[in-house]
């Protein structure tokens, strides 16, 4: 397992390299230049200012040369400075990662806490009231846009009931209980929608497993229904659920720009979005690298989880 993990980590390097080349080329191809946005427009010496800034930022060099320079510094752990704020990338971007991780993790945990029991019971009690409720609720969850549900939550819990703040963020390291107040609504908005997908997946996966012979064998051996469901069937049924939840988490860690805007959540998604709008190349590069690492690591964790759920699964 250790060798497998190390091999997967080693695979991360070419993936990130290809990713960084693709992003560098993509950003280069975007219309509009950061120099234009920074120098302004009303002066009589715009060309001079543009030339100064272009040289200062090294944008007068060929794109491949800039890429190699950037890569060399990145390998030494120096992601550079934002061209817009002139502050280190670590300040601008990496400081936002905890907020994103906090929201995404709690959102996914919440969705699992809803989806796994609901999907399991819906499958075990197929065509019962529980099953119908689960199906209708999950269908509603899929159909309702996330931003609309978020706005409804804000209206109900913040504006009319006054129970929770409507937007903002407090770090859990500064004030844990205070941070929960700000977390509940965005996490619920994420959790509800993700739970809708996962519930349906868990249900269908459970139905599939329940029809297999090993379940009948377990029952014929006299195991209790609880043991058959939770010890044998659910563990196997969880593999696709874990796969999808892992991908959902990776997706959420990449940032949820709309929800971050609605809840004024200082996550990585908005930072990268703003960087793209302003053509802040180093920030975009660093952001994509971070997201790339997140996706690859999440995939690795998901694969490792298969083995925990079912020891017969072999990690190739």
């Amino acid at each position: 397992m250790l060798a497998y993990t190390l091999r997967r980590i080693a695979q991360l390097v070419p993936v990130l390299l290809v990713l960084s080349v693709a992003v560098f080329a993509f950003v280069e191809a975007l219309p509009g230049s950061i120099v234009d946005t920074l120098v302004g427009t009303e002066g009589g010496d715009i060309e001079e200012a543009r030339a100064i800034l272009t040289k200062e930022y090294g944008l007068d060099r060929p794109v491949h040369e800039r890429y190699v320079l950037w890569l060399g510094r990145a390998l030494q752990g120096d992601l550079g400075k934002s061209l817009v704020t002139r502050r280190p990338i670590s300040t601008e971007l990496l400081s936002r990662i905890p907020a994103t991780v906090y929201l995404a993790s709690v959102g996914i945990v919440l969705s699992m806490l809803i989806a796994v029991p609901l999907g399991t019971f819906a499958a075990v009690r197929r065509n019962s009231a529980v099953d119908y409720t689960a199906q209708v609720t999950s269908l509603a969850g899929i159909s309702i846009p996330e931003f609309w549900f978020a706005i409804l939550c804000v209206l109900l819990f913040s504006l009319y009931l006054g129970w929770l703040p409507s937007s903002g963020y407090v770090s859990p390291l500064e004030d844990f209980w205070g941070s929960l107040q700000f977390l509940i609504l965005p996490a619920a908005a994420i959790g509800f929608r993700q739970a809708a997908f996962t519930t349906r997946l868990t249900r269908s996966s459970m139905l599939d497993e329940l029809s297999k012979e090993y379940v009948d064998t377990a029952r014929s051996l006299g195991h209790s229904e609880r043991k058959v469901i939770f010890k044998y069937t659910l563990r196997n049924a969880m593999i696709p659920t874990i796969t999808i939840s892992g991908l959902q988490l990776a997706n959420l860690l990449g940032g949820t720009v709309v929800l971050e805007s609605i809840f004024a959540w200082p996550g990585i998604g908005r930072a990268i979005f703003e960087a793209i709008l302003q053509r802040d190349y180093p920030l975009i590069q660093a952001g994509v690298l971070v997201l790339g690492v997140i996706v690859v690591v999440m995939n690795l964790l998901v694969d490792l989880t298969y083995r925990l759920l079912n020891p017969r699964v072999k990690l190739a």
Partner: protein, 541 residues
Amino acid sequence: MSDEATKKGNERTRRSFLTATTALAGTALVGEHAFADARKRNPKRGGTLRFGTRDDSIALDTHRNIIYFVSHPLTGITGGLVDFDDKMQPKPAVAESWDSSSDLMTWTFKLRRGAEYHNGQTIDAESVKWNIERIKDPKTSHAFTRSVLSDVERVTVDDKHTIRFHLKEAHAALDINLIYYPVNLMAPGAVDTVDTHPVNCGPFKFKSWRRLDVCELVRFENFWETDSEGNSLPYLDGLIGRPKKEDRVRLTALRTGELDLIDNVAYADAPAFKKDHGKTFETYPVPQVGTAMMFFNLKNGLLSEKDNPDAHLLRQAIAHAIDHEGIHQAVFNGIGEISKGFYSSASPWHSKDIEGWPKFDPDKAKSLRKKAKGGDEKFTIIANDTFPYMQQSGELVHAMLKDAGFNAVLEILPSPVMLEKQNKGDYNIDSTANSYRLDPDGWYGRNILSSAPENRRRIGYKNEKADQIILAARKERDPVKRRLMYADVETLVNRDLPMLYTHFVPLMMAGNRARVKNYAVSYSGPWSYSGAGMRRTWIEG
């Protein structure tokens, strides 16, 4: 309250104590009744105001970046030689007085003694000179900031408290150009930390900033301004800026008590909010933050005389096709005024003597379009996606032109792409706006004058008569005469149609009545200005 604010709060208390005991001794002489009145007049102090804004600064260096004084929390740290009041008129700030030579070629400013930067460094003439030179240097300043000093040839220091500006061309309004927005002063000794911890000289000191999240400022105890009773300003202990881009998110946060004051209540929400929640929330209408308009590309293309002999006829047809009342109702929800010139009726520079643009007349628009060469050709309208009213005005104008039979296409674009298109002249109409200019030369001299870089870049308009008037107005001291001169320029603009003014951009702020006390907004939107605004606001409860 932060540790720093607490520490400074003690200093304040000591000073307050001295002020109070002096006042007490005085009032004891004039009797108990007078003392009671004096106490009543004294405002309460303190509290930290939570301010929700639509926008945020992009970085901390206040010379290199525009710190927009209407919607950036960071504005609170900025100060300069000259201030302005609620009518946007120049007032003494770090400069206590100033004078110009008879030929308007030299301006001399006497600095206030005892004025300090936030790090305690004295604001002397050498440090002001350093600031002006830094702003004039393209390596360290933004074009907008630098351009207001384009007439300044050099700056000399007469003595520690006297600085002299030597101009290339005579200018009657240099003092207005030196208002802290955009010519703000920063401590030369702290330039190394300008991108991480700016040290300026405004009413509030910088504490922390996370872009698009939070901006924390604390009261600058040694700010130069005092109220009429000698109490130092500002009254607030601090200010927390909370940029929340979405208008309704900001409004909801105000209603739930998470914010005390917000800017930019959406036009669609403003009337209902005022009606339904007027008892709980105060609204502060701002008549003119800027002016919206359609720029026509006269540099090249269908609407340019260079490429089309009937370009003026075509522009007239377009103007006849645009229903200003429709824009007033649909985009601005009936709030504010339709514009015939750059300055609204709330401004001292407003003039009634302007001949308006061609009136809305769809039939005439159609007949002129058919008559003009290129009337059936495709042309492009561009609009910036950053400001909703620019985008919505663009959409509406596009629909109106389609109704009049024009073959128009609309492109809603982000700022970098807009800039590229403008630089290349790759558009025909630009749905845009310009922020309020304190002195008219800031608009006419920098956007209508044929030699102005911005005119050359975006419009390409040239009218010799307009140029003569603008250059003459720059040297005219009498504001009444200047206003009439600019009215003549507006008439020429409305005839030639290098642009079509559409509407003044209004703004509504809103605050919690129970908490926000004594806040007033200046008529063009800034929240930090001499004599009122955020400087005389305090928080209760």
